[in-house]
């Protein structure tokens, strides 16, 4: 089990009802963290449309996560 802080933005924040939360989960990758949060909050956005960052650095869904990491979950972006 790893202690992971998850930060939510835009629609993910509204689904979760919080800006961030600390989870203790069995996760190897960013994708595992995303899946755990989706299960936790009952959402179903495909990860392919979304982006992820770990400790303020853009990452891939198969990037490994470590105990103490902060994972930022970005729903589909729409600037401009």
């Amino acid at each position: 089990m790893k202690a992971i802080t998850v930060r939510y933005f835009a629609m993910f924040r509204e689904h979760a009802g919080v800006d961030e939360e600390s989870l203790r989960i069995d996760a190897s990758t960013a994708a595992d963290v995303f899946a755990a949060t989706q299960h936790r909050h009952g959402s179903s956005e495909p990860s392919g449309h979304c982006k992820v960052a770990i400790n303020d650095v853009m990452a891939d869904w198969d990037s490994p996560v470590s105990d103490g990491d902060t994972v930022l979950l970005f729903p589909p972006v729409a600037g401009g």
Binding site: F9, A10, M11, P46, G48, H49, K51, A53, D56, M58, L72, F74, P75, P76, V77, A78, G79, G80
Partner: protein, 142 residues
Amino acid sequence: MIAITTNTIDPDHLRRELFDAGAGAYCSFEGWIRNENEGQSVLRLEYEAYEPLALTEGEKILAEAQRQFPYLHAHCVHRTGMLEIGECAVWVGVSSAHRDEAFQACRYIIDQLKVRLPIWKKEHYVDGHSGWVNCERCAKSA
């Protein structure tokens, strides 16, 4: 340079910052808030950004544009907060020796920032509802 701001974008002021004695061309793009999207009447738009990564990713885009279309100066400013119809949400300006670089760099920067910057917009509709806008091109490229 890229900036995220809650203040009104002033294109005339931003344009002057790109002046250069070696520049023979200047190209800019302004993204405006319009009153309709996918058949729904829009009252206003609300933008949210994660500024630390929007700035680092934006600087990467400017550097990529510089390598591909060498320009003299390029600036980009994106608004956050609540914007009314007709307001400028994003501004990109490029000055260069010749027009090709200015056109192409400007196009590259706006196209890339729309799909890469952690920025989201929520439409508030005339009927009182609201909804987050999904970037169509992001979904297609995923």
